[in-house]
């Protein structure tokens, strides 16, 4: 019995041996690069941020670094304006998320009800276009159109209405940022909600209509519960991405005027490159990172991923 096996092993060329190794451990080969990159982009930055936040300044030999305890954190939250930037970030994230969700849903529901197929696909394609605009290009558009001297929007407000136009970039910068982000990313919510709405069976909608329930109640009690997974995922992903916001604000206001639109990400950037305080930047970064990851994971755990995949 053992003879054929032995001859088989003996006759194996290195090439076939490699091929067997490849085929026998295929799942491992397939997973390895992804796991490697994931470790590099999740655990490594987290750990390194933490390390940088606890030392005075990075040294060539990591063991020579001087540990300073929590003093970087203290600086961040006393003189560094960290708390203020967290408040600004939360304001932008929450307002933009609410606006984009509501607007995206209303638009999706309105488009879903359009009878002519051509008009429907016209709206569907048109409404995704703002997503093509990079945040920094959107900042360009904002600077062009809202500029108090050459901007078309202040001009239209001044000449077409009895109101005086506010200086969008200096008087209401936070609102401007929120509205620009809403313009940019409502398409994201729209496209996912639209797909969710088209998955609601017509019979379900018909049945609720026969009941004579008013429109809003049909949505709240029948349609949204049916597509709750879709709603959950869209809101979660948009929430995650809103915490990444940087380009539109940095291009539009640089975090200003003063610190009026200083998101956490901008604060960290300035601590690092303008104040040259790597430790303080890392301290804010680690707090931000932990808060965002914890928040998202709590949401995932609380709401649950049942039905998101099986």
């Amino acid at each position: 019995m053992s003879t054929p096996t032995q001859t088989e092993t003996a006759s194996k060329t290195p090439l076939t041996r490699v091929r067997d190794l490849w085929n026998d451990y295929l799942p491992y080969w397939f997973m390895a690069p992804m796991v490697l990159v994931m470790v590099m982009i999740t655990f490594f930055p987290g750990a390194y941020d933490l390390y940088l936040s606890l030392i005075a300044e990075p040294t060539f030999n990591v063991f020579e670094a001087e540990f300073v305890g929590l003093s970087n954190f203290e600086t961040a939250f006393t003189r560094g304006g960290a708390f203020h930037s967290f408040v600004i970030t939360i304001t932008v994230v929450v307002s933009a998320l609410l606006l984009e969700s509501a607007l995206g849903f209303v638009l999706a529901a309105l488009v879903a009800g359009v009878e002519s197929g051509r008009a429907k696909s016209f709206y569907r394609v048109l409404f995704i276009v703002p997503m093509a605009v990079a945040p920094v290009s959107l900042a360009t558009i904002g600077r062009i159109m809202l500029n108090s001297e050459i901007g078309i929007i202040p001009y239209v407000i001044e000449t077409g209405t009895p109101f005086a136009a506010p200086n969008f970039l200096s008087e209401v910068p936070l609102l401007t940022v929120i509205l620009l982000d809403t313009w940019n990313w409502t398409p994201f919510m729209f496209i996912i909600f639209y797909a969710g709405l088209s998955s609601v069976p017509d019979t379900l909608v018909e049945a609720s209509r026969v009941d004579g329930a008013p429109l809003w109640r049909r949505y709240v009690h029948v349609i949204i519960p049916y597509m709750k997974t879709v709603v959950f995922v869209a809101v979660l992903i948009r929430l995650i991405d809103l915490f990444r916001t940087f380009g539109v604000v940095y291009g539009l206001t640089n975090g200003g005027p003063g610190t009026a639109t200083q998101l956490v990400s901008i604060n960290i950037y300035e601590q690092m490159f303008i104040n040259n305080q790597l430790g303080v930047a890392a301290a804010i970064a680690i707090v931000y990172l932990v808060l965002v990851v914890a928040l998202c994971n709590v949401i995932i755990a609380k709401v649950g991923f049942e039905g998101v995949w099986d």
Binding site: I128, V136, T159, G247
Partner: protein, 292 residues
């Protein structure tokens, strides 16, 4: 008398219903056309500004009728900075998409087909890479890239772009593979194919729409990224987003050229988005919505 009442009641109700439906249609299209205007006007404004001669670009009241000129685009094309940045972005983003597919698609296949211990936790861990704010990720890489001479190199930027999109690719492709029946590969294996051949010759072709859409969405997310370019490049590997940003920052802004640069950045993405619009929902929702 009673029946007459009932009849008139129903007929008036029907009339009400008809007028109401008409009213709903009118309101619906008013709102939708209103939003269409909100969507289109800023883009129209940007493009029209890029086609105006510099002296005319900022005039108020605006010159609604003007002779379009490609002057700004020619000026832009003569700026070697712009061309270099645009080429950089094309090369770096395209390379990152190829790399992220090579890394992500096989892993997604394994996550779809094999029983992985703690699969749910692995998937949430992968998603959590997206939750990390880029600014928090970029600090360590800024330090490390300087030590490894990867600062201001295209290779370094490609790696960062991969980090943005890997979670997206794995999640979306896992969902697509889940939708491809395993019997397809089993049939191929009965015919003597190895697992790898089954993956390459049977599963991958069936997953083509998924790969196509996730590639384009990854391209877009990398294309619009500003922060990594801002922190990790200075001269050689500057992406087009950073070029536009430094243009905004320059003291005397030439608005019409800035508009031309932004338009040049936006147009390819619009084409891509429209090309994959059917699969956009699946891709953007990390594969949770798979339809059509």
């Amino acid at each position: 008398m009673a029946t007459q009442d009932a009849q008139s009641a129903t007929s008036s109700q029907r009339l009400d219903k008809e007028t109401r439906e008409k009213l709903v249609t009118v309101v619906r299209h008013t709102v939708l056309l209103g939003w269409s205007f909100v969507v289109l006007f800023p883009l129209y404004w940007l493009v029209s500004m890029s086609l105006k001669p510099p002296g005319q670009a900022n005039s108020l009241p605006p010159d609604w009728i003007f002779l379009p000129t490609v002057y700004n685009y020619i000026q832009l094309a003569q700026q070697s900075d712009f061309l270099a940045a645009f080429a950089n972005s094309v090369v770096m983003v395209a390379a990152s998409v190829v790399l992220v597919l090579l890394i992500g698609v096989p892993a997604a296949y394994v996550l779809s087909r094999y029983d992985i211990p703690m699969q749910r936790d692995v998937l949430v861990w992968i998603l959590s890479s997206r939750m990390l704010p880029p600014i928090a990720v970029v600090i360590p890489f800024f330090v490390i890239f300087r030590a490894l001479n990867l600062f201001d190199t295209r290779i370094g930027m490609v790696l960062m772009y991969v980090s943005i999109n890997l979670s997206l690719v794995v999640w979306v492709m896992k969902a697509f593979f889940d939708g491809i029946p395993e019997t397809l590969e089993e049939a191929a294996r009965v015919d003597g194919a190895t697992q790898f051949q089954g993956f390459r010759k049977v599963v991958l072709p069936a997953a083509k729409p998924g790969i196509f859409s996730v590639a384009i969405i990854s391209f877009i997310f990398a294309w619009i990224e500003l922060l990594f370019g801002l922190v990790l490049t200075s001269f050689e590997a500057v992406p087009v987003t950073l070029f536009v940003y430094s243009f905004i920052g320059s003291r005397s802004i030439e608005w019409s050229m800035l508009a031309a640069a932004s338009t040049a950045m936006i147009i390819p993405v619009v084409v891509f988005l429209v090309a994959v619009n059917k699969y956009l929902a699946a891709g953007l929702s990390f594969g949770v919505v798979i339809k059509e």
